[in-house]
């Protein structure tokens, strides 16, 4: 599968905010979250289409590795985008955003696109952090903001794709040096690899997008 660019993302945030579920929901929709079965994954890749360009997103979850400082700092540096996730039903996960953001700013390239995500928007009745608070935090720190639900798949596509759009925009503005792979962006191989592709996750996903939008 050939692509124009490869963007590396990381997902950060407190444990239990649903990072790996978001990742799985985005990369492999076949795992339906409806069966009261919480399934997540720490790595995934998927192709998306932005402005007619095939762009591959590679997403690395850093969960479980927080105890090693070397690991988190390296992850930040190698990523072009970061999803900073909190749980709208647990205020403490929102309160910790500042320190996550500080870490991210310290270790990442200054161009890294950070998307703030309030997850679990399906649990409206247990909401502990107002949407406006998330918006205000994002505005103050120059982040993109969205509320998502990994469970209902609401806004999950949009979160990943909007981040990709922002990175793509920055590339076109010449802010990213695309030839420097340390930034988390890679130019795709020139020759197309001729592997016939079955109904992969990405193709089916593109079909699902329509049905997902408008749920939040």
């Amino acid at each position: 599968m050939t692509y124009a660019y490869l963007f590396k993302y990381i997902i950060i945030g407190d444990t239990g905010v649903g990072k790996s579920c978001l990742l799985l929901q985005f990369t492999d929709k076949r795992f339906q979250p409806v069966h009261d079965l919480t399934i997540g994954v720490e790595f995934g890749a998927r192709m998306v289409n932005i402005d007619g360009k095939q762009i591959k997103l590679q997403i690395w979850d850093t969960a479980g590795q927080e105890s090693f400082r070397s690991i988190t700092r390296s992850y930040y540096r190698g990523a072009a985008g970061a999803l900073l996730v909190y749980d709208i039903t647990r205020r403490e996960t929102f309160n910790h955003l500042t320190s996550w953001l500080e870490d991210a700013r310290q270790h990442s390239s200054s161009n890294m696109v950070i998307m703030l995500i309030g997850n679990k928007s399906d649990l409206e009745s247990r909401r502990d952090v107002k949407r406006e608070e998330g918006e205000a935090f994002a505005r103050e720190h120059g982040l993109i903001f969205m509320e998502t639900s990994a469970k209902t798949a609401c806004n999950v596509e949009e979160a990943f794709i909007n981040t990709a759009k922002e990175i793509y925009r920055k590339i076109q503005q010449g802010l990213f040096d695309v030839h420097n792979e340390a930034n988390g962006i890679k130019i795709g191989p020139q020759q197309s690899i001729s592997t016939s592709v079955g109904p992969s996750a990405s193709q089916r996903n593109s079909r699902d997008i329509g049905s997902n939008s408008g749920c939040c």
Binding site: R30, G40, S74
Partner: protein, 1053 residues
Amino acid sequence: MFGRSRSWVGGGHGKSSRNIHSLDHLKYLYHVLTKNTTVTEQNRNLLVETIRSITEILIWGDQNDSSVFDFFLEKNMFVFFLNILRQKSGRYVCVQLLQTLNILFENISHETSLYYLLSNNYVNSIIVHKFDFSDEEIMAYYISFLKTLSLKLNNHTVHFFYNEHTNDFALYTEAIKFFNHPESMVRIAVRTITLNVYKVSLDNQAMLHYIRDKTAVPYFSNLVWFIGSHVIELDDCVQTDEEHRNRGKLSDLVAEHLDHLHYLNDILIINCEFLNDVLTDHLLNRLFLPLYVYSLENQDKGGERPKISLPVSLYLLSQVFLIIHHAPLVNSLAEVILNGDLSEMYAKTEQDVQRSSAKPSIRCFIKPTETLERSLEMNKHKGKRHVQKRPNYKNVGEEEDEEKGPAEDAQEDAEKAKGTEGGSKGIKTSGESEEIEMVIMERSKLSELAASASVQEQNTTDEEKSAAATCSESARWSRPFLDMVYHALDSPDDDYHALFVLCLLYAMSHNKGMDPEKLERIQLPVPNVAEKNTYNHPLAERLIRIMNNAAQPDGKIRLATLELSCLLLKQQVLTSAGCIMKDVHLACLEGAREESVHLVRHFYKGEDIFLDMFEDEYRSMTMKPMNVEYLMMDASILLPPTGTPLTGIDFVKRLPCGDVEKTRRAIRVFFMLRSLSLQLRGEPETQLPLTREEDLIKTDDVLDLNNSDLIACTVITKDGGMVQRFLAVDIYQMSLVEPDVSRLGWGVVKFAGLLQDMQVTGVEDDSRALNITIHKPASSPHSKPFPILQATFIFSDHIRCIIAKQRLAKGRIQARRMKMQRIAALLDLPIQPTTEVLGFGLGSSSSTQHLPFRFYDQGRRGSSDPTVQRSVFASVDKVPGFAVAQCINQHSSPSLSSQSPPSASGSPSGSGSTSHCDSGGTSSSSTPSTAQSPADAPTTPELPQPHLPDQLVIASETEADSRPSKNVARSTAVETASLSPSLVPAQQPTISLLCEDTADTLSVESLTLIPPVDPHSLRSLTGIPPLPTPAATCTDPLGEEAACAEPVGPAED
């Protein structure tokens, strides 16, 4: 959705009614697998989906029904997975399979379920399967799979991965083969896996022995070589740089080095003694000493030894000391740096080698003789003493047996090691792999000795001491490291080396693993040592000289260097009991501080937005104090210092560019030296920040508003809210209050905002309304100024609206003027009595023209508009406090400058540059005397000094004397000129007063319409902390400077 998932699998088989999360469904999937043992184009998707569904059922079973695991195991379903994998079925199937395995292992929560999955060794077979690693996607999923497994390692599960009988540990050995993979995410995953493995190995002796004996040397030597190669590349990058073009690459290489150091530190803090000894040995003898430290002193010597340049070496060593705190490592490293004769390091090394009979390659930066993969392969074959016996999940029950096994093994190893100890000298002929093993034992013994035996360390210390003693006391100063430090700090042209040297000193003294005694030998105390009575005088003098240089108008000292100097000086002389600094040094420091005051005076009023800059600099300095570790993460300081912001280099790490940055820099230097001086003298800061949070009116404060001017209004906020409030204007703040129900005449504050950050505009089609915005200054470079109030105020009629507008506009100007006067006081500039400040006099009204407006164009326009400039002039004359602005004006108007004494107008005028001020002349002439004194005092001790105090006195006298006369002389002529803009009739009162010239007319009216708010009635405090009398602050430092000038010389010996 449920239905689709089902039909996807069962489609065409007519079994769609089945619940997909059930044992039955698993049985059905098993059936599918048995029918499709060969992967073809046609059944590929079916197989992938089947595996995926099996995964889902297993995860469901883990949480709900363990019988699915029994079935899974009973039917050996993993075999099908392996079978599919081995058919070279292509990337699509491989990736899907690896991903489902990832999901499976990640989501299993019960230990027993995990044992089921790990049993029969199938997972190890998948680990060693030769995937097509050239495919980046397969590589990514594969390494993630290993990482996922490594996160599942614990005392029990480890037995499924590590087999001590066969010396098999595929998870670990397969992973470390990718330690230098070009893809950074893969390298990070490898590091994660190794760290997870090391953490578990703490409780597993056999595994620990395996890792140390069979893998540690190959892995660490290759790793160290990998790091070193990057360092040499980094050095190349610095050496070949032209015009900062290599910065991008350089910052990657620096970040890479940091990643490595953090990784090494993470290994070291797992605190596995076995591993740490091997690692410390490799780091010291294969990298830090032969490459970094050797380059410190042997810059000019030729030879084929790999070398890096001095700044790079200092920079990297600083990073080492900032990050790694492992005591044996940092102490050995510091020992060589501080006390070793670096140039003879290698001669010494040979002795060491002879004594220890270790490998001759020790303490040398060389490439490992074979690749990591090959070393691992050889070690593995060598270790195969037992019949191959794969670990089995049943091992769990046999744990006790296993515990005995490793213990015996260990004993065996130990005996073997003893045997080799004697004969290791003549080992050359024996097999390569065997040699490696023995060298490890030998070396780890060695470093253990060096690390643990404090007695031995004491001995070396004594040796060093006695050696030093033979060369008399002065030998201490001939140590190459200190010489290099002093030399770097003495550099007059720039602070390129000085910054690194200071960082290294800081890093060494703040290293937690460091033995304080080591540093005490160069009289560099660690912070927070309770008792100390001396400090390193030559170092302190050099630090003070850096401060003095920084306070010069054309000083080449970057702010980062200055801040670090301040930190180090404080660390040296501050004790819990107080400051132990000698008077003479303290006096020199006061001299530097005084210089910095002079420096800021040049710029006072030189820029329209001086107040905003002053407060902004204070805010950013206190909110973001220097973090040396962050400083040393920035690659840009590796390139020679530059002045241009076009490089994107942080302001504090480069020289200023243009007048605005020169002003900012001067302000910072002033803040730093002021704070240092206060701290060393043990005095609290009472003047800064100009606005203290605790002095301000806050929301919910209850104020006595009797006799205050209150204007009723309706406040409509941006989001549509509408409330009735009373507007009150205080000295620094405006507030919106609501009557207090409990006390008549009192009000509860509902909102309070700083007048200086306020923006008032009229509303076009409503003469009763005003738009008011108050911004909160940006707290970080990433955030925008955030409006804390954005609202439309509607008053009962247009008269009240105009009144309010004037009150606010006036208030804003007043607030800013008050603060400017407080700055003047800080700079020892005379200020006018406060009574006039509070009154809305004519003079102050004309001053509206030049006061800084953060959000308005006028500030910029002002400088080019001749009328405005003249009005600046006028207002200045009426406010004696603005002395320096006056001086600037002198230069731009030759007719007036002739009145002033020659010393003040001596410099060429007309260029508009602020550095032509009179105090500039004095400070530059005083530079050499103060700067030189600590350096070369013994030879030329007293020559320049006697001039210093005289000059200063003259300068300040002329300043003071000339002022009143000038005021008298010019006031009439200028006043008319200043009034001219105010004669323009006020035609559009609805448009902002602040932007328009009409401001003046209206403000004159305002004098009669509304008297100023009496501050006492609002709240007695809010504001004016007592200003120091200018005379006192002025004379004091001068006296001290004079004192400083004389006794500098004696301090030198």
